[in-house]
Subunit: 371 residues, 2 copies
């Protein structure tokens, strides 16, 4: 194998594929990146762990076809630190690669291609979907934080995506809060799939790095899906099992309705959290009375009272929350005004836009001890 | 005690004094900040650990004189998160402080002033010195990295400052390298003192934050010194003992002289370091031959050869270095061209400006095993 490629082009491609390199293993081959130089002037780089495989195609001047596996970290560090000029990469006999520029010459170990894991192999395609890039990224940002990060929680680490003919939804929940995002998007096919929030976030990052204007193309198989993002291809394992029937959880008759400024509420809750460390559940109490929201909390170090003017319809209410769960939600919202709907001090609160339903968050309250 | 002060003013002052708050102790009073409101409209904040005391004076509207100790982290977090408006601070009976703005009200624990450590107490002044702010910062940046970070090394954790009538020097060394900075500066008094590099770096940060144009005024006592930086006063313990006779260490007859570009050398050494992990001493080999500097290194993962054109007078040479020590030096230098002077492969290298002597670095070589 022998090819020449520009330093910046190689660096960008390595930054993308290296997201799939496992850092949990000590087996060198699993920390590898597969380089394939093709006669048609294409260089294909691939990295895989057990859940995801990322492949990136770039242009290169290929003098001799071939393929090789290099250590991702070492190879990436070398390429990143070389000056922005043409880099020649050539496989030697005896499992090594020669990396050369005008003044630098590296010889580094390589591994035979047949040891590289084949988890990136594709399946028969059942469905072929198109997804708008910006909508995808925005919906992942609005929902992924609500998924569980505890791998033992099974399906709760995933985001359910439901694609209809006219609209698309994503939903994540961890037992304490639920995040639902809805957007208008036309699709030729209906579909639904569950992918871990971690992988959905990786795909969002790849979308952000992608310089093409193309939509995402998703090829669905039985157990795997292939995401095509510009010249990057992501092959991932779909999560199996039934997602929680989330529509049944969202309360429909929360008739205490508060309209309030998001930033002022976020800042007040962040301040109240400074004295809400007791018992580690970040307890804050909200008192909704007439047109005033009062937020209080206390710890051994002191206590705090925050007051915010708001609009309210319905009864007065006292309710406790883990402040972290409200802060996460408010940080995910772009709107300056939001609607918060309550029923009782022991039933979930729903946070929505003042108009429309582009997001819906459900937050479970926390019982208030005598405070 | 009762005073009102602007949020931004308080935040800036807290950022300065909190540099002296110890985070190693579990005794709340040692994590405290002393607030003193004076009848003349001055608020004085003080924090101390065992080595350094920082005091900052700001303007405040004082309604009632008094003083109190608050928990630095909690008080700082609250003030930083409040909106930019006037904050009222009032001591209550029963060891607590009330912090109030238009919509927030905090009550936090406080401590009696007499429990606050008195290590900031001053001594009789023996000398009164003036030091240019920018020169001080620049010289600390050029030398402090070469001091030892190992507290058990005694005087080697310090920087020796020598103030003459016409020039000033700072020097630090750790047994492997030495950093010497010289500047022209007139002083009415001669003096020398040793202060730990850690504290010298803290003083540099305070200088960077200071908004006045004033020079630093240093009041020297027997065992302590007081640095006046704008409205900030730093009281610190001087290090005792004799500094190493550094002038005797710096070789005078290194007659192999290389003139080379600093950035290109730094980048080459950084690349070579990627394959210099063996035995953890970051060994790189420099071969100086005719007008070519070749840098090589190797590890189990591969090897590298870097070539740089240079100007040389004197013999050819092979010499090994711990790449970290050269990288530290090159990063501290602003010049684009530098002079490196060698004698043999086993004697120290001296790095200097091509003209003048504003810095002088000495780096010990490392023995090259057969490689």
């Amino acid at each position: 194998m022998k090819f020449t490629c520009n330093q910046q082009t190689l660096t960008k491609a390595l930054n993308t594929v290296s997201k799939a390199v496992s850092n949990r293993t000590t087996l060198p081959i699993l920390k590898g990146i597969l380089l394939e130089a093709k006669a048609n002037g294409k260089l294909i780089m691939t990295a895989s762990d057990l859940e995801i495989s990322i492949q990136k195609e770039t242009e290169a001047y290929v003098e001799e076809e071939g393929s090789i596996v290099v250590i991702s970290k070492l190879f990436g560090d070398i390429i990143r630190k070389l000056p922005n000029e043409e880099i020649s990469i050539e496989s030697n006999e005896e499992n090594s690669v020669l990396i050369k520029t005008s003044s630098s010459e590296f010889t580094v170990v390589s591994f035979p291609v047949d040891e590289f894991p084949k988890i990136g192999e594709k399946e028969e395609i059942k469905d072929d979907l198109i997804f708008d890039k910006e909508i995808f990224k925005d919906m992942v940002r609005k929902t992924s934080f609500a998924a569980s990060i505890d791998e033992s929680k099974g399906i709760l680490v995933g985001i359910l995506t439901e694609i209809g003919r006219e609209k698309v939804s994503m939903v994540a929940l961890d037992g304490f809060r639920l995040a639902l995002a809805n957007e208008n998007m036309t699709s030729a096919e209906e579909n639904k799939f569950i992918i871990s929030a971690k992988i959905m976030n990786e795909i969002s990052k790849i979308i952000s790095d992608d310089e093409t204007d193309d939509d995402i193309r998703i090829l669905m198989g039985e157990k795997k899906a292939v995401f095509n993002i510009g010249t990057t291809e992501v092959i991932l394992r779909l999560m199996e099992g039934e997602f929680i029937k989330y529509k049944e959880i969202i309360p429909k008759n929360n008739d205490i309705n508060v309209i309030i400024g998001k930033s002022i509420l976020l800042e007040s809750i962040e301040r109240a959290s400074l004295l809400a460390k007791e018992g580690k559940n970040n307890l804050i109490k909200m008192t909704i009375k007439n047109n005033l929201l009062t937020i209080t909390s206390r710890s051994e170090e002191g206590n705090v009272k925050e007051e915010i003017i708001m609009e309210k319809t319905g009864d007065d209410l006292e309710i406790g929350f883990n402040s972290k769960f409200i802060i996460d939600v408010l940080k995910a919202i772009d709107d300056e005004e939001i609607s918060m709907n309550f029923k009782t001090g022991t039933s979930p609160c729903v946070v929505k836009p003042v108009e429309g339903n582009s997001y819906e968050y459900l937050i479970l309250p926390v019982r208030i001890p005598s405070m």
